[in-house]
Symmetry: none
Subunit: 214 residues, 4 copies
């Protein structure tokens, strides 16, 4: 994952430029491993400007959650939208592809999410959970409980774990992408192949064993 410095510097609004610089560096080095000065340098301003716009590093994190994770990623994936339109299995497939596609525009997302949202002690974890409404509108779990009752989903599946399973199957490999090629265990894989792999796994994995599938 190479940081596109020139692309970041096309952003004219210094505040937005700083936010963009931040997520790239956070993704690559972790939040604790990134200094305010590095962010400033990548955005071509002084480190004092970071404090001018965000007051403290911690409030910069708040802004990243609000504007980058919720504002950009959530809006792009639009999870709430998906669930209203489709069957349970289609919902999952849909989600997988939306996440994978979202990372085209936001390659910084998978590492950031895995490290700082999902990991114990991640710096964005509580901020995102606390964030107004996160997960509330989303009745992912309920949809799968119903689907199970209707006999459309394998009973051994735990509806509560399903969301995490999707995250683990998609974001985790995407966050490792940088060294894919070096690890003989994995080899070179495209995002298309990842999507096909994950949806195949889930489509069959969720289905009721022995049932008809196209």
């Amino acid at each position: 994952m190479k940081i596109p410095k020139d692309q970041i510097n096309k952003i004219t609004d210094a505040r937005l430029r700083l936010l963009e610089a931040a997520v790239w560096l956070f993704a690559e080095q972790g939040i604790n491993g990134t200094t305010v000065a590095e962010i400033a340098q990548l955005a071509d301003v002084t480190s004092a400007m970071v404090h001018y716009y965000f007051k403290t590093k911690d409030q910069l994190l708040d802004a990243v959650v609000d504007e980058k994770l919720v504002g950009e990623f959530f809006t792009f994936v639009d999870v709430v939208q998906i669930q209203e339109q489709t069957s349970a299995i289609e919902l999952v497939e849909n989600l997988v592809w939306r996440i994978i596609n979202a990372t085209d525009k936001m390659p910084w997302l998978p590492p950031l999410w895995i490290r700082e949202v999902l990991s114990e002690g991640g710096m964005l974890r509580e901020k995102l959970i606390v964030h107004a409404g996160f997960g509330k509108k989303l009745n992912f779990k309920e949809i799968f409980i119903m689907a199970q009752q209707e006999g459309k989903i394998n009973n051994e599946i735990d509806p509560g774990l399903l969301f995490l399973s999707v995250m683990g199957l998609t974001l985790l490999p995407l966050s490792v992408a940088k060294s894919w090629e070096c690890i003989p265990l994995i080899g070179k894989v495209s995002k298309q192949e990842l999507g096909k792999h994950v949806t195949a796994l889930l489509k069959n994995g969720l289905a009721v064993p022995g049932s008809e599938r196209k």
Copy 2:
């Protein structure tokens, strides 16, 4: 995840005590977020002793990789062992359960692995990849390529991605465990339930669609 200070302090060898203290703190706060002094304090020695035993923080990380990850975790899971005995699908199931069980003795493992091994810029990533032999003896990928050729495994599955899928399905939920209960999306889940969920997903997900299953 509560750090078992009294249990750590039962270890008489100060060097091993420091290693144990280190992995617990690294898991909870990340490596960058943990100071040498904190590790020393948890192990009831002075921070100067940490340098006496490990010379630098970086060399302490080397020791964690060698003795905790490879020495304890790999040995416990014994991946190489599994693959020699079983069919492809059983191999995966077996792996899942071994990993889940390993975390009983090493609750620090999932967060540490996700954050510092798998994440981009993780402090243990290169150290582990460089580590003599890691991944070399393991012909996970090859086994599944063969199984696919024999028609035992769904062709849409990518053998190279499978190892990461298993990691994502098991370690990621385990590393999030701390806040499971607070997230309505997930709810309270036991390790047994996680194991059942993941193996169900994989067993069916890997199988050839339409084939017989018990």
Copy 3:
């Protein structure tokens, strides 16, 4: 001492408003402890305006000395005026009451004077001493030397120290006023009581022992 923000904001001339805001904040937090931005905020302008009117913080201090201390306080107390009209002891009494009354309109004066004029290293000290004419017109000392020679004043009194004694007896208690009530050593005291106390002390303290007094 509560800062009367609404009263300050009644001043229409921004420059004067800034001066007023400055003395209140300087009195409460000390000059070093007060930022240009705080002054600006209290005066409802931007900090850039402070520099527009005063160029630098140091020149703002010059203006405070000229316009607030000399211009307002000295003018109000009018020390030079007093000394021309009265006997030595009356002069002192008069001075005490003028100072005490002055603080009705300028409650910021005692702390500012004690801290920044009289204290070693006070930021206004040299500025005031250097200030054209300060102390020159005032022949306080000479008046008491003469009064002593005429046998009207106790010989043990040091004429040179008398001015400082008056300051110490009046301004110091006034600058502590805020916490008067909390200190059991002192208790609640009004300005009237302070004036009576100080004049009593000085009247008798200055008089020749054994002489007639009403």
Copy 4:
């Protein structure tokens, strides 16, 4: 007031050396105007050592209050001791001389006290008031109320203000001492002369008007 760097550096205990360096600089430049680095430099150590011994600048202030103000000054003046032995007027005289003599060993005391203890917003004010027992054992006020009832003290004197009057008459001139010589209003005065002046003022000022005095 010249800071005796060589004398400070005779102190072998680095912690005590830092405390001594601190009070001198605080007295000369105010607490806000003194950097941790300056203190360290005067004590011939790194600024990191200040944090090694005192953790934060604020905790250094706590130590200054405990060990320098209470521990050294209060102990030296031993106010509680005085009041048990003497008449009301002698008590005051005694206090004046003890304070003046104390400043021989602690020339930093008067400026520090005036600026940071007595001044509004002084950094040591609350710390000292909060300090266990300060002012509690001292029944200065009560002694003078009794003396007034016995007709030994002028009724116009306010017993509650007397302690502050003593402070104002002694510490304030002492804190101005540095520039005594430059101010024509005052001229050059020795500590002996100050003591005589203040005790004369108080002795007569407190006495009942018209009564016999030697």
